[in-house]
């Protein structure tokens, strides 16, 4: 597979702060790459650097195998960007907004009309063509924002947190739309700090923190880095110290912690961990209101790598 984007040793400094710090990664043709990181980790800055919206201090950026520059219009024509903030004309209807933004790329009127109709269908705004942005709900507005960025059928799409503050219905619509775009052959770079989204959507994930790559791989590969395989949480009414000691002696147990009434047991690997634990609790007459088992999340990965939570 071809490399669509190549970022090599890119550094972007704001006065003292290194917003992007010697960053290198590639994006392969046809994949959805997730850039995951907490607020301020440099996701937006990275995108702005790739797009030549910001001057970089060091490094090189290639798109479609060519060096990206502010006047590289032959590259730009195949790129679509959906920025974090909604950028549409208040004075224009949904349709006219799309007409303008698509018109910046597509001169042919008939072709443009087709493209716009397709974009409207993709984000499900068919019934709102004549609406002004002020008349749209937050979620619908975000969908319009996305449609404006992708209507010209770009080969490479950047989406910067397109689902922030969006209702579940619109969120599902947006995520489905992004998958559709990928299935039509687009390469997508998707930033978010919602780990569930990347897991659901992305073929590959890069975890960013302080402008650096912390880890890279598929969701499953990354979870190996969480240093555990299963996490069991028990809401106990009361538990004796001796019982906790007994749990620690199970062969797969990695760590046991008790905070107030919440008992958390993490396992490196293994099978039947849950039933083993339930049996032990029963034997020792420990009563509990809740018990559940989880696979590790990307948050656990992030926690393990940095010692802090992905989300504040």
């Amino acid at each position: 597979m071809k490399n669509i984007v190549e970022v090599k040793n890119v550094t972007k400094e704001y006065k003292e702060l290194k917003a992007v710090d010697d960053l290198s990664f590639v994006v392969k043709e046809g994949e959805i790459l997730g850039l995951l990181g907490p607020n301020g980790s440099g996701k937006t800055t990275t995108i702005n650097c790739i797009l030549s919206l910001l001057n970089i201090n060091k490094g090189t950026i290639k798109i479609f195998g060519k060096i990206m520059k502010p006047d590289a219009y032959d590259i730009k024509k195949d790129i679509g960007v959906v920025f974090q903030e909604v950028a549409v004309f208040e004075e224009l209807t949904v349709y006219d907004n799309l007409d303008y933004f698509c018109g910046l790329y597509i001169k042919n009127k008939k072709q443009r009309k087709e493209y716009i109709e397709e974009a409207i269908a993709l984000v499900g705004l068919e019934n709102y063509k004549k609406f002004y942005p002020k008349q749209l709900s937050g979620g619908l507005l975000r969908r319009l924002n996305i449609a404006c960025g992708i209507a010209h059928k770009p080969k490479l799409i950047f989406l910067d947190e397109p689902t922030v503050a969006v209702d579940p219905q619109s969120r599902n619509n947006i995520l489905e739309g992004i998958k559709t775009l990928r299935d039509r052959g687009a390469t997508i770079i998707y930033t978010t700090h919602y780990m569930e989204e990347v897991e659901l959507l992305c073929d590959r994930i890069i975890i960013l923190d302080k402008g650096k790559v912390l880890a890279e791989g598929s969701a499953d590969e990354l979870k190996e880095l969480a240093n555990m395989d299963e996490k069991i949480t028990v809401e106990v009414d009361h538990i004796k110290e001796t019982v906790i000691e007994k749990i620690k002696y199970f062969k797969n147990v990695h760590e046991v912690s008790l905070e107030r009434n919440t008992l958390i047991v993490t396992y490196k690997k293994g099978k039947n961990n849950l039933s083993e634990l339930i049996d032990l609790l029963k034997e020792n007459k420990v009563t509990y209101s809740k018990i559940f088992s989880e696979r590790p999340t990307l948050n656990d990965v992030f926690l393990n790598l940095t010692g802090k939570e992905l989300r504040d």
């Binding site: 797009l51 919206l53 219009y73 920025f83 004075e91 224009l92 790329y105 001169k107 960025g149």
Partner: protein, 382 residues
Amino acid sequence: MIVFKTFWNVVKKYKGTVILYTVLLLVFGFLNMSTKDTQTDFVNSRPDIFIINKDKDGLLTKNLISYLGENSNRKEIKEEEDSINDALFYRDINFVIYIPEDYSKEVMEGSNPEIEIKSTGDYQASLASRMLERYLQIQTIYKKKETDEENLIEAINHNLKTSAKVEIASSLDTTKTTNSSRYFNFASYSIMAVVIFVVCLVMSSFKEKNTKKRIIISSMNYKEHNRKLLLASFVYSSIAWLLFILLGAILLKDILFTTRGLIYMLNAYLFTFCSLTIALLISTLITDKNAVSGIVNVIALGSSFLCGAFVPSEWLPKGVLQIAHALPAYWYINSNDLLKTIEVINRESLKPILINSLVLIIFSVLYIILNNIISKYKQKIG
């Protein structure tokens, strides 16, 4: 094309503003038509004259001066060509009369010494000129019969009194020109509001931070995109101008289809263009829509008040007019006021109007340069 189309689509959203100021102008124009009789307030029928008398002792001269004094306002200014020319330019005086040395003596001796004049070429100046001509005609006629200076003076004065005071007819219909001047003066407000307000709002939409990012990353050259925007705003301003001219043609009728009317229109066009350059400057400085409407109101209303768009500038205090010199509207309105009273349109009488136009052009160029400097600076820090 898409930039043009979108520009107009956005403008359409602000058509309320355009309609509002057009209706205001229309209402003002109508009211203006129905208050014809007050025009004498604005066109003073007594000319302001300045006499340079080198014939201090001549009796004939004294009589001429006293006759002129009865029918005009004699002004005293410095007897230097520079200050005389200034006074003429600023309409402090309309007419200058140079009486040569030994004028009376030479007349009595039968020669015909020449009295030189300088004139602003406006209505009052023509009154003064006709007054002088009439006197000299009578003097010439009676000189043939009378050889005694005192008898001659008596005869002249008698004739001046008895011959029915000929109404000095002017070829200029000041009712019409007053109406046109007032219409175009008021139009300065409508032009400023419609051009600056709408252009600023539309531009601020295109220059909104995130929208701008979208345009920059697109495959359209950003500079070219902005050139198209400029062209669109230029076309828009021209159409606004045309609208006000058409309205003027309906209200003022035939006067617009004369040379004078053409000058009114050109003057208005220059002012429209100048307003456009102001609009572009403001839209570079401020991109916040809410701030735009406030600032535009202050600028349009403020300059219209200070420069005499609503009331005749003669009614404004001198201090205010002094400040108004710093505003383009002052020069535009001044040209309109001059057009009200210019009797004959020729190179001489158009000179002050040409100078006003030049000032308007200089203002526009200044705003364009300032705009370029500021937008370059903003790009650097942005």
